[in-house]
Symmetry: C2
Subunit: 301 residues, 2 copies
Amino acid sequence: MEILDGKLVAKNIIEEVKTEVANLKEKTGKVPGLTVVIVGEDPASQVYVSSKDKLANKVGIKSNLEILSENVSEAKLIEKIEELNRDTDVNGILVQLPLPAKFDTWKILSKLSPEKDVDCFLPESVGNIILNRAKIFPCTPSGIVKILDNYKIDIQGKNVIVLGRSFIVGKPIAAMLTNRSATVTICHSKTKDLKGHLKNADIIIAAIGIPGFIIDDMVKDGVILVDVGINRLDKKEEVLDMCSEKQIKLFDKKGYAITGDIHKTAFKKSSFYTPVPGGIGKMTVAVLMENTVHLFKEQNR
Amino acid sequence: MEILDGKLVAKNIIEEVKTEVANLKEKTGKVPGLTVVIVGEDPASQVYVSSKDKLANKVGIKSNLEILSENVSEAKLIEKIEELNRDTDVNGILVQLPLPAKFDTWKILSKLSPEKDVDCFLPESVGNIILNRAKIFPCTPSGIVKILDNYKIDIQGKNVIVLGRSFIVGKPIAAMLTNRSATVTICHSKTKDLKGHLKNADIIIAAIGIPGFIIDDMVKDGVILVDVGINRLDKKEEVLDMCSEKQIKLFDKKGYAITGDIHKTAFKKSSFYTPVPGGIGKMTVAVLMENTVHLFKEQNR
């Protein structure tokens, strides 16, 4: 089993982005701008948002956080988005999900200018992915493809199981790999004989948010495992069962550990796997930076 | 093996549409309008277009054919589409594909007003299907779902193989059935061990345009077969091998016969199947009428 090192591949992407931002600044006198809109105080969202902000600053992207109170009205939130749509210094807008339950998420997202949809969540962006006409892709699926490409893993004709059918990961990655000539099956909570499907897979992409769900006897020898799950464990026996040595040590210090949707016993049967942490999560934020630069270039042609 | 009778189900839809158009006319003084734009003289396209025109007239929809010469310029074609976008008597616009090779199909389609995209081919329409937020669906995939529903065929949890990954049939039907909780695999020319995939399928949807491609030993007993192919055969030995008795008789009269992508030997192992002709083709035009009425109602709210 060989690690698909998200940290390393992401680092290379980040270096490239940094160089490109510097070049663009020299040529145009401007830098790409990314604004993250966050409503309310969901602690997980706060962590993600601050890591995006930090990375943007590191690569020279002008990062801006718009933190709105959970009590903000729909009208005010929409007004903010429209203001950002008009702001030529803002090239990419990301509305951090989930929004508080009182909001109609799709109504809010639909106010985003499609040219600034850095997450590729709008219907038009999703449609372009399916139609194989997209120029940028949603961050996590794009990160998956980039890490597989980086390790020269051939996708064409491979049996791929995508576990999970969210519009953020499952559906777009399935479309992207179908367009790359994989044979893709989306499995989910209603799938019968999931084990049969998994056993037949050359590549498994797990995005369901259930810690250690995929275990060794569900996969074939030599499978390639891509783990999108980021799950927090607080119970020592679970950490001992599912986590790497390093995470077990971290647990002893911090009182929690992180694990994915794939159990370490399954990794042992794989030819390649993405660890959690240090796998797809790292790729996701790196791609966000790349997407922002792409939108900047489109808007400044 | 029981026939999924597209002729019959389509007839019921058409009757409903007819009644609804009459009611709408009484209420609003207007009738839905459908315009088909056709460029050049592709004979197959001419046949499809004239059948759409006939059916529209039959149900009381105001049908309009815009027949443009193959020599029309891109600018003129776009001008025509923009004129139709503005025409409030036209609720649905359909650009008959394929366009002559000199045109950039996606550039032309992108000029269509999304509200009048009766075929659901635009990125925004496709995205809404994936995101499970669509109100109308592309005609052929929608026809497939409606015929399965009509015969109360349970989709949830079923293993579905979609053979073919076009944006007109394969990709949207895969998304629609995934949203209905089937476990869907899209297979195509690069798929390895296609037979293994097909043998495992509860439902097979064939949309590749290869006459009689799926034969008996590729499917399991009791499979449900949906045949989207419409292939014309001119050789007697092929007609005898693949076609129904009725088509064989027609061949003796006309010199050609029609068959789908699924061989009659496979139909014999199925629990249900859609014949060709008289299956999905009939459904497709019926759904086009339904979609037109839906767009009329949206535009006249």
